[in-house]
Subunit: 236 residues, 2 copies
DNA sequence: TGTTGACCAGTCTTCGAATTTGGTCAACTA
DNA sequence: TAGTTGACCAAATTCGAAGACTGGTCAACA
């Protein structure tokens, strides 16, 4: 790929990722072959390997692209209304985005251990963890969480996980529609972890800006990871 | 088995179930053979089939026996202190019992689809569901839950499930010890679903009695199912 | 009457062959 | 010459049949 074609290159990368996405939701990680993806993107198999070193990195790139979309949606929502930063709103927004995007849904629903974040290299992973950590700290410090929650991180994760995972286990939960579940989630988070009085408008706006900044810090390395050929990294 | 030996019979059933329990926690449902269980109980394999029609029913009996223990522990706790009926206390008590009893822990942790409640026959299952339903209604009606929770059942299930399932998925959560997790669970349920003011002592005691009655209704059919040979039922 | 283990049919495991697939690279094209 | 490709290879996966195992039965036994 020569300089001039770089734009076209990430364009092609996107086409490949589109193909991978389509096939992933239809057949699941295991049953999708690199050749299928290449064929669907109307390119040769070798060309796929000009973008990523392994099948796994290809699908990790797909997962990252979806993560970026999620982050961008959150940022957009925060810009439109800083009150989106309230934990229950942030959570339900995320929940709805995940459940409405087939790929994200497949990634959380289908347990493809190959695609779990553990597959990512340490730098990026720790960066991501750091962001979550920083967001939590930021929000906690600015009074978006009640101060006395024991093991806040764990409590949030555990209380929230069920909403994402339950349909996998208990078919009963399929009866409710996504919006109802989102409402239940919102209610739970709101009452379990938020203070009675939300912060006033100004601080909310200020913290939202900080949060946006933190999240946007994450995007460049993610984008780099998606579209830049990585000569070293080779997740084994 | 003649009349006189009936006591001895359930005694033997218990010995078999003990053997099954031991082997279940060690090797998991799949790897345990009926012959192993019989050998460990120092009886012939055929004898196992004098108690239950299938391997599956044997292990369902084991699961039921554990459920009975759980119910009894709850009843005991309720008798000792009616305030145990407060949702956050009821939940954490259950959680701690489950996590501290290897068999219950294995049954919830290890996903042996054969042992999921779905395996039980409709009558008993619906009876069990009915009990949960009735407990929920009872508690809701008497003010143990806040009145405005949307989809209370689902919200409770989803918010709670993560605490039982998370270690399976996210090894990070293994860092906290059981008591800390139980505390987090208690906090969450307490704030998410309970009213600011708990019911007064008297009504609490009264409702606890009702709850005990409801739960104890469940025990006889369970016990029957565990120890009575069932000539018809044959879960396919 | 109560117990058992030999026995049977169906299932699961094994393991080597055959096929598929991830990944490479020499040849090809524009 | 930069960029692309599909034939090619080794490794992994699937397939299939032989064999082993296990759930469940029941005639024989205690």
């Amino acid at each position: 790929m020569h300089e001039e074609a770089l734009a076209g290159a990430t364009e092609r990368a996107d086409r490949i990722l589109d193909a991978a996405a389509e096939l992933l939701v239809r057949h699941g990680y295991r049953k999708v072959t690199v050749e299928d993806v290449a064929a669907r993107a109307r390119i040769g198999k070798g060309t796929v390997y000009l973008h990523w070193r392994t099948k796994r990195q290809l699908f990790e790139a797909l997962a990252l692209r979806e993560a970026v979309v999620l982050a961008e949606e959150l940022v957009a929502a925060l810009r439109a209304d800083p009150a989106t930063l309230l934990p229950h709103r942030l959570l339900t927004t995320s929940y709805l985005v995940v459940m409405r995007r087939p790929v994200l849904r497949a990634l959380t629903t289908e347990d493809a251990p190959e695609l779990q974040p553990s597959g990512l290299d340490r730098e990026l992973r720790s960066q991501e963890l750091l962001v979550v950590e920083r967001l939590f700290d930021l929000m906690a410090k600015r009074g978006l969480f009640r101060a006395d929650v024991p093991n806040l991180r764990y409590a949030m994760t555990a209380s929230t996980a069920g909403y994402f995972l339950l349909d996998r286990i208990d078919p009963t939960s399929a009866e409710l529609d996504v919006q109802e579940k989102a409402d239940a989630l919102a209610y739970t988070v709101r009452h379990a972890f938020e203070p009675a009085e939300p912060p006033d408008r100004e601080t909310l706006a200020a913290v939202a800006d900080e949060a946006i900044a933190v999240m946007e810090e994450l995007l460049p390395p993610y984008l780099a990871r998606i579209y830049t050929y990585d000569r070293k990294q080779r997740t084994p």
